[in-house]
């Protein structure tokens, strides 16, 4: 494994983690954990296969593990409202930060698909393989995620006041 190949993927891993978690420090921690796990499992990487997809798969699994750890049984989505958007002072982004807030209202399983499509430009099949789910599941989560995001952006906030049981 060439270190420079890994190095080249770090900015993309950071971008995705930032979008997924919202918080810069938490995102970089996740990237760090991902890289450490990647090095420790290097023998599992099949040379010639897609390094990026492999790294994103590791990151996804780490994230799933994190969420499975013992924690309060419910998580109020409203709590996300208190995560102040980090770019609030950047006026040239105008209303763009709306999307950040809105994304926070999506379930992880929907948000990750929207992000892999928009940021990584993965195909549906690549997403299915990275996340370890069938393509049909990708499509249904995509459909629900996009529609939910649209309603939130329109100010309709579907289910935003509900509690999500994880």
């Amino acid at each position: 494994m060439e270190g420079s190949a890994i190095l080249a993927e770090i900015p993309r891993l950071r971008r995705y983690a930032r979008a997924m978690l919202g918080d810069r420090a938490a995102a970089d921690d996740l990237v760090q954990d991902t890289l450490e796990r990647a090095w420790s499992r290097l023998q599992q990487w099949r040379p010639g296969s897609d390094l990026r997809a492999w790294l994103f798969g590791i990151m996804h699994n780490l994230r799933v593990d994190q969420l499975r750890r013992p924690r309060l049984p419910t998580h109020s989505i409203d709590e996300d409202d208190f995560e102040v958007p980090t770019r609030a002072t950047q006026t040239d982004d105008l209303e763009l930060r709306d999307i950040e807030t809105a994304l926070n209202h999506l379930p992880d399983e929907q948000r990750e698909i929207l992000l892999l499509l928009a940021l990584e430009e993965m195909s549906y099949a690549e997403i299915a393989s990275t996340l370890g789910i069938p393509v049909g599941t990708v499509m249904s989560r995509l459909s629900r995620g996009r529609e939910r995001l649209r309603l939130i952006m329109n100010g309709q906030q579907p289910g935003a006041r509900l509690k999500a049981v994880r």
């Binding site: 990237v31 940021l119 996009r146």
Partner: protein, 270 residues
């Protein structure tokens, strides 16, 4: 000709440019006839673009040292004994890895090409797609009261800088005030293979006009003004170098021709 019904999955695949050319055309026909669905689908496109706009800057942030260090195997993670005896093999591995990376990149490029052949050939051989796209974009965004544009004309400098950066070439909205149309603002839209820009204008009566600017023309064949009618929308369009321009509005052809001439006169022709 029997067409399969348009499914929800088709609409998403259209958003993600994952459809073959023929199916893409069928979806566009469907959207042209279903304004509500077109609005929904364009909202999805706008989501995708907004996600990129918000998070792409992360790519340019300097890497924290803690992460940069992990581009090499951490000492704790290395299960192997000291590496020095392995030096020759390691070098060989590097060469092999480099070869693999080159191969993977090449393959990815080739596959990407294979994924978008329809779009490319559409842009190359069929300038007719330009007025169709422009008219759909006009029909979707110009009636929008709350948010007709992404960046408003009061931030024109930012608008110009942003769109020029995203299109990879300077673009600037022409001034049409003499004809009674003032710039409201603009937005970025997906074209066949990359981003395109839309500028929106409005006159005193609230009549809106959009100028659609694509940089996807690869035919290098300039054209004269052409006219197309897509439903209620009249479109003048022309190709100028790599640029395709399409001016759309629900106003009559003669008046639109005047505006088109004014736009043409203000554009640098290279």
């Amino acid at each position: 000709m029997n067409k399969l019904p348009i499914t929800e999955a088709d609409l998403h695949a259209w958003v993600d440019a994952a459809l073959p050319l023929v199916r893409r055309g069928e979806v566009e026909d469907y959207l042209a006839a279903q304004p509500d669905e077109a609005g929904r689908v364009h909202a999805y496109l706008a989501q995708k673009e907004a996600i990129r706009s918000v998070f792409n800057p992360v790519l340019d942030e300097p890497l924290p040292e803690s992460l940069r260090a992990l581009a090499a195997p951490p000492p704790t993670a290395s299960a192997e004994p000291p590496r020095r005896p392995w030096l020759p093999r390691w070098s060989l591995q590097r060469v092999a890895a480099g070869f693999v990376i080159a191969l993977v990149s090449g393959l990815a490029g080739w596959m990407a090409h294979d994924r978008y052949p329809a779009a490319e050939s559409l842009a190359r051989t069929s300038p007719l797609s330009l007025p169709r796209q422009a008219a759909v974009a006009h029909a979707v965004f110009s009636p929008d009261v709350r948010r007709p544009v992404e960046v408003s004309a009061e931030h024109e400098d930012q608008l110009v800088a942003w769109l020029s950066k995203r299109l990879g070439t300077p673009v600037r909205p022409p001034k049409l005030g003499a004809l009674g149309f003032d710039l409201i603002g603009g937005r970025l839209l997906p074209g066949n293979v990359g981003p395109v820009a839309q500028f929106m204008y409005q006159d005193a009566t609230g009549q809106r006009l959009t100028l659609y600017v694509s940089t996807e023309n690869t035919a290098n064949r300039d054209t004269a003004f052409r006219f197309a009618q897509e439903g209620q929308v009249n479109v003048f369009y022309w190709i100028d170098g790599k640029f395709g321009y399409a001016l759309s509005a629900g106003i009559d052809k003669d008046k639109l021709a005047l505006v088109a001439t004014a736009v043409y006169d203000q554009i640098d022709h290279k």
